[in-house]
């Protein structure tokens, strides 16, 4: 075999490889930094080995952030999945309303999350925000949306849900459209009810598509930053300081670079582990769905 033939694919990926290295370099550099006590006040850092990590894990602030992050990610992913699948099912019916609304389904998804947070911040303002104004007739004025710990977390999740529910809905809708029709026709002939059909046919076959969406949403919301930064800045108190916000505060606000990066490395490990588990599960689910179809 001519060497030119063997070499060709490598030549084609070399630019991408170089660029990738350009992104990997800071990542590696960051990993290296975590072994030192590098900060703005200490530009000539000393090697501290794994001290940064041990500090992270012994800090109460870390465990608080980790807990908030998990609450946020699970809450957002859960609501988005249920709501997204419901919207997809509703849109899947051949009605005029559905066809019209489907066209504008993606709008919130295409708005920058930070802008979405700004929009909601204006609406949720307790005294002059429009949400409280609209709730007044129901005797619910004056809700302190982002000013209580629970309220702040729920509001952040609400913004996440507002932006990303269409993401789940779009993938679920694509899944619904690609399902084979024959099992449903068979079920209809057998006189199966709506609920039975949904639980025994639609859901198992749709699940792989939904799970792809869930994986994306769960892993993305583990590293949420924009929405919290713009909506609550982590407050009130520490109640919405998710891990990326904590890393930002440590590294950029307090300029303790090494320590801040340690936070993101830990987060990265968590995301990676979550991804492994979910992807493995996805494989299993896909096989099961294939069985239902046959």
């Amino acid at each position: 075999m001519g060497w030119r033939l063997t070499l060709r694919p490598y030549v084609l990926i070399v630019p991408a490889l170089l660029l990738t290295c350009g992104i990997l370099y800071p990542f590696g550099l960051g990993l290296y930094y975590t072994l030192f006590d590098f900060s703005a006040s200490k530009p000539q850092p000393d090697m501290v080995r794994f001290e940064n990590y041990s500090t992270v894990f012994t800090q109460e602030a870390f465990w608080n952030s980790a807990w908030v992050t998990v609450l946020y990610a699970v809450g957002a992913a859960l609501v988005e999945t249920v709501l997204g699948v419901a919207v997809a099912l509703l849109l899947h019916r051949p009605t005029l309303v559905g066809r019209v609304l489907e066209k504008i389904l993606i709008l919130p998804l295409m708005i920058a999350p930070v802008i979405a947070a700004i929009i909601w911040k204006l609406m949720l303002q307790p005294s002059v925000g429009v949400v409280n104004h609209l709730l007044k007739p129901f005797g619910l004025g004056g809700v302190q949306w982002t000013d209580t710990p629970t309220g702040a977390l729920l509001s952040s999740i609400a913004v996440d849900v507002w932006v990303y529910t269409p993401f789940v809905a779009i993938l679920a809708l694509a899944g619904l459209r690609s399902l084979p029709t024959s099992p449903f026709e068979a079920a209809a002939v057998d006189g199966a009810g709506w609920w039975y059909t949904f639980r025994r046919l639609t859901l198992p076959m749709l699940w792989p598509y939904v799970l792809v969406a869930v994986i994306f949403r769960f892993m993305d919301s583990l590293k949420v930053f924009d929405i919290i930064y713009a909506l609550t800045e982590g407050g009130p108190g520490d109640s919405t300081v998710v891990l990326q916000i904590r890393a930002y505060l440590e590294a950029i606000r307090f300029q303790r670079y090494s320590f801040g990066i340690s936070y993101t490395i830990v987060l990265w490990a968590v995301v990676y582990l979550a991804a492994m588990v979910l992807v493995k599960h996805l494989g299993k689910i896909q096989r099961k769905a294939a069985e239902v179809t046959t």
């Binding site: 075999m1 001519g2 030119r4 033939l5």
Partner: protein, 362 residues
Amino acid sequence: MITLSGIRKTYGKTVALDGLELEVREGEFFCLLGPSGAGKTTTLKTVAGLEQPDSGTVLLGGEDMRGVEPYDRGVAMCFESYALYPHRSVYDNLASPLRSPRYRLPAAEARQRIGAVAELLGISALLDRPVGRLSNGQRQRVALGRVLVRPAKAFLLDEPLSHLDAKLRQQMRAELKAIGEVRHTTTLYVTHDSVEALALGDRIGVVREGRIVQTGTREEIWYQPYDTEVARAFGRPRINLLPGVVTESGVRSDGGVELPVRSRATPGTDVLVGLRPRDLALRGPGHELTGTVYVTEVLGRSVEVTVRLGTGERRVSLVAPRADAARLRPDDPVRLVVRPENLLLFEADRPERPGRRIETER
């Protein structure tokens, strides 16, 4: 003209070609026959330079093709998928080779050439149509046209007729060999259809699991098949293979049927005797066998008769003229005639290894 020797090609752990040897002579129409997955397409692509063999050499016109790019090999290929450019018209598809740096023709000449080829294939009316709006038969003609439109040292045709319906396939089969370009150019033709191979091939190569099992003219393949599997591959209804044991005077099959095949095989060897349905008759000279009619099936002017041989359950099929078989009913006693020289003898089949043919003595 085309010589492949010791070609080995693997994809990961699957072996596609396992030491394939092949020689196609100048101007010959060579059919490569085999089931899907046998390595036929890989063979073609290896000749074309689209696949690089792990080992072995490809010679085209005596030249070693190692490291020679597909566009420098001067062969034309018709893909099973037709590989027409879906975004272009029929004309542009046919013109594609004539606009390439390698086979460029001045526009006027190209138009003339395309017109002639389109005329030949009966697709002149389709030239302005986008390929996406053609039927399978039309696509197949366009794909063939793209092969014929430019000069080529050899044509490589990969199951060009397989996607056509039966009637169209028969018609195209007849046309294909009548085309002058095809008659005069070395052609390597891949098919899984033995009828097609017998009808078209000057010589036939039978491929199995990445190797050529037998190469020969249709007569050689028909009368001297390499083993039972080759014998089974050709002829419909299939060859009858009767298990038996070699005796001093011939072979004795189940149910006490004596068959006059003599060979050097030692008496007592388990063998299979092959009788082609077309070589059995209900009357005429030859060795006689007795049996009872099992079932008859009318095939137009002839009848396929299945007969229970002797006293056993063993059945053979034969094809007889309608006049001879018209009055036969199930369970009627019949006499079958076979010419001893048409009998084939094989070793008994073993698992994973079809029985080889044993040379018979006339």
